[in-house]
């Protein structure tokens, strides 16, 4: 039994969630190999070979892997799949896009987005946006599994010295062409991976008032989120939406401002480690999940919050 993990990277660096997926993958089985498909990605292969949990790195270097195209990745992975009992990746947009394509060709029913490894074939995964947890057992011979990265700690990055084996590319698809990537031009962290998220709801009253939130976000190096109500009201674009139909976030600190706490919003943030709610309605459902609740008018509380933060000597970033 051995596990093949598909690395996510940008040809220079390993994308951070790969390390979280490594932790989960090595809980499935210790014989963990990592596949690096890239172009001039030697540094990526080398970094991964230094991860103590990794037993072998398979490195395929070809220009067809310069950009991540699921079709090209799939044919290469299928070529190697024979030797493995499990094919795994992180359950972010990288792995979500890729893994089902592999699973279908292997005639395997994929187990998506696991949050716990119970045994080599049994996993815990959230359904209904985390409103229920399902324990599922895969009866397929070969298993395809994606891993919710925020549910596992990142693996140690140094101390190992796995061998790096070069391998040949597979056929490229002529049906899909990469055109461009526009990375979010923001100094703020990504909503999905930020350590701190501060979100505004309908209580913000308009888009301009989100400045009160962004000032605090700048101070805390936080990502900015929003409830569906704020998005529907047009205060902010829906790439900021946290909730069942938006992004599910699991930061160390989640600050909900002027958000009542509809089910659909709670589903996207209630696994956060510490939740703060600021709302003038003391009966708002958001208080039932908040570690710290402040019943106050947000238009007074947010400027005060900023000035209190300014008084601190140090702020963890």
């Amino acid at each position: 039994m051995s596990v093949l993990l598909i690395a996510e990277h940008n040809n220079k660096e390993v994308r951070p969630f790969t390390y979280n997926a490594i932790t989960a993958a090595s809980q499935i089985n210790e014989d963990l190999h990592v596949l690096v498909l890239g172009h001039k990605a030697d540094d990526v292969a080398k970094s991964l070979s230094e991860v103590p949990n990794v037993k072998k790195v398979i490195h395929v270097d070809n220009e067809i892997y310069e950009n991540y195209i699921a079709e090209n990745y799939t044919s290469a992975i299928i070529k190697h799949a024979e030797n493995y009992t499990h094919i795994v990746s992180s359950a972010n947009t990288f792995g979500k896009n890729l893994m089902p394509r592999i699973a279908a060709l292997l005639d395997t029913s994929q187990v998506s987005d696991i949050i716990k490894v119970i045994s080599e074939d049994t996993f815990l995964r959230p359904i209904y946006a985390g409103n229920a947890f399902a324990t599922v057992k895969s009866n397929d011979k070969k298993k395809c599994v994606t891993i919710r990265p925020t549910s596992f700690d990142p693996a140690d990055k140094s101390g190992g010295s796995a061998e790096i084996v070069k391998s040949d590319p597979a056929e490229a698809s002529s049906l899909t062409k990469f055109l461009k990537k526009e990375e979010v031009k923001s100094d703020r962290p990504e909503l999905g991976t930020a350590r701190i998220v501060i979100s505004g709801g309908r209580g913000m009253q308009n888009g301009e008032n989100f400045k009160l939130i962004s000032d605090i976000a700048d101070k805390l190096n936080a990502a900015i989120g929003a409830s569906r109500a704020a998005v529907d009201a047009g205060y902010i674009t829906n790439d900021h939406q946290v909730g069942q139909t938006g992004k599910v976030v699991v930061p160390d600190l989640y600050i909900a401002v002027g958000i009542s706490g509809a089910i659909q919003h709670l589903a996207g943030m209630k696994e956060s480690k510490i939740i703060v709610a600021i709302n003038k309605d003391g009966e708002a459902p958001i208080f039932s999940v908040a570690d710290y609740g402040l019943e106050a008018d947000l238009f007074e509380a947010l400027p005060q919050f900023l000035s209190e933060l300014n008084k601190l000597n140090t702020i963890q970033k």
């Binding site: 994929q110 229920a132 397929d140 049906l175 526009e182 990375e183 710290y292 402040l294 963890q316």
Partner: protein, 249 residues
């Protein structure tokens, strides 16, 4: 062009789901059901492409029990031309769904297949990619913008780092993100008209595909309850607690 749009009937996103006491699943009896939200975006996009004169026919398909037809009826009310309902009695896995859809695609020969990126019940996010693999078609997942070009689509995809644009040759599968468009509401006259549009019923067992489950659901349980914390009296107290007690800032 002909566009096939797959829609799924799920528990409405505003409903607080309840886990069955015996751990066998969640309660669906007497619960409000709706179309899976991003499937509404998929229908809307197909209708917009047709309105722009770039598609001739939109076929809406659903797979599920008798009542799943409601989702097809809704799609017909916002602009799909006809419907297909593949009847299955039990919940089936995305792999089985994609095998059924493959059979329908082979019969209908659409140029494009649209669907939501993920269903909000099982949260699998698999069907579109699986169907693309089985058909050996290109896939454009998590689409937030679609431009129809000559025999190809330019699709902007929502990815963790931002946005990515790819070109896929037609025929192709596109899975739709919520940012793609603003789904319209059906007008009353259109709801009435939709009642006259045809829905073809097909039994899954007639399609000759293996839809048996490969994954055993051992149990479904409530997630650990989060206990409510404390109320703080002032912003100053809040910041002190975050700094010194929770140690998160």
């Amino acid at each position: 062009m002909k566009i096939l749009v797959a829609v799924k009937r799920v528990i409405d996103y505003n409903v607080q789901i309840r886990v069955k006491e015996d751990g066998s699943g969640v309660v669906t009896d007497n619960v409000k059901m709706s179309t899976n939200p991003p499937d509404d975006n998929a229908i809307e996009e197909a209708v917009k492409i047709k309105e722009a004169g770039k598609a001739k026919e939109i076929v809406a398909i659903t797979i599920g029990e008798e009542k799943a037809q409601e989702t097809v009826r809704k799609a017909l009310a916002v602009g799909a031309d006809r419907g297909i309902h593949v009847k299955v009695d039990n919940v089936i896995e995305p792999l089985a769904v994609s095998k059924i859809l493959k059979k329908i695609v082979e019969k209908e020969n659409p140029d494009l297949v649209f669907m939501g990126k993920q269903a909000i019940d099982d949260d699998c996010n698999q069907t579109g990619q699986m169907l693309a693999a089985l058909l050996n078609w290109p896939q454009a997942t998590f689409a937030s913008k679609i431009e129809v070009k000559n025999n190809a689509l330019e699709v902007t995809r929502e990815i963790d780092e931002g946005l990515e644009t790819i070109q896929v040759n037609v025929p192709a599968i596109v899975t739709c993100d919520l940012r793609l468009n603003e789904p319209r509401y059906a007008s009353l006259p259109n709801i009435m008209k939709a009642k006259k549009k045809p829905i073809e019923q097909i039994s899954a067992s007639d399609l000759g595909v293996d839809i048996n489950p490969r994954i055993e659901q051992i149990k479904v349980e409530e997630p650990p309850k989060r206990k409510a914390g404390i109320k703080v009296a002032s912003v100053e107290e809040l910041v002190q607690k975050l700094k010194n007690e929770a140690k998160v800032i």
